[in-house]
């Protein structure tokens, strides 16, 4: 399953996409530690798979929360993307 967390508002599209089918194959989940803002969480989805997602409290402000990290890594990149060896995470901006 590809989960798009985030939003579209007047300033653009801000989505973090996570391929949870790849997530289930990863035992270490290095993205959890890599995220400097700790907005990624581990949870059991509706189909009983252990996957990662963006915390509900963070989903509508990722443009701001991810700003510092993205300014370090550059557009389209972030610590979570670099940490995920299965390339399961993408950012839309």
């Amino acid at each position: 399953m590809i989960a798009h967390y985030g939003y579209k508002d007047g300033s653009g599209d801000f989505f973090i996409s996570i391929d949870t089918d790849k997530c289930t194959q990863c035992s270490d989940k290095p993205c959890l530690e890599a995220c400097p803002e700790k907005i990624i969480e581990l949870f059991t989805d509706d189909y009983d798979d252990e996957v990662v997602g963006i915390k509900a409290s963070e989903r509508n402000k990722i443009k701001y929360t991810c700003l510092t990290c993205k300014s370090t890594f550059g557009a389209g990149h972030a610590a979570c993307i670099e940490a995920c060896l299965l390339e399961a995470i993408e950012h839309s901006w």
Partner: protein, 292 residues
Amino acid sequence: MTEKNEFWRWEESRWKNPDLDWENAEVITLGVDVGSVSSQAVILCDGELFAYSNMRTGYDSSESALNAASWALEGTGLTLDDIHFKVGTGYGRVNVTFADRNITEIACHARGGNLMYGPTVRTILDMGGQDCKVIRCDERGKVVSFLMNDKCAAGTGRGIEVFTDLLGVPIGEVGQRSLRVEMEPEPVSSTCVVFAKSEAIGLLHAGWSTEKVLAAYCLATANRVVSLLERVGMVKDFAITGGIAKNVGVVSRIEKILGVSALEPKYDTQIAGAMGAALFAKALAEKKAKTG
């Protein structure tokens, strides 16, 4: 003092299947979807639709869940204790205190859409009261991909409600009246309902008819959700659920922009989430019976 009309008020409804007798059923399940604007309860007997209710959500989610369930049960002879498994979904799912489990509305809409529109449905657009969801699913109703936008009211039922009050048009007439224009106008702002309302007031002052303003707003709503559909990728068959699925002005414009026809719903488009929850409840009840 003049009476204030509630143009936004939509009709609450309930239905009971006259051909089903719950006493012959092996598994009776309940799905309750407590949304931001409306709450629904669906009762299934062996996976077949037995009864449902669709009503406005109040300020208390727990009470709304109970009210929806009670209304669906009313006159059936069934009580909550007769139900083998109950699943809560929607924004208020954690407040469905009598539920055995709660499941996200994303998964429930996919499962419910699969039953309501058939196994060929691959893309479901749920236009809810305060959010908009695009869900891609497989032939079994399992979610393949999803996107939810609940940051702003544009493209949601709440946005339409704002316009009904502004223009004094009953919500059930918005769609049809928006189609009574000779030429499609430019859409109003699709990024913010507050700005769209301000823009509409300006257009009314500039001499636009009510129908033309409605057309501009319905088009803006359609544009808004199509951009979300494009992010996830539209795959046929396509279906729309939620309250706005009843608005022909928005639906026909979405169909025109995408170049596809939405599947015809077999049931009330607002019960998809609760239907999915009841289907999950059936699977969980059967699993529970097997494992003890």
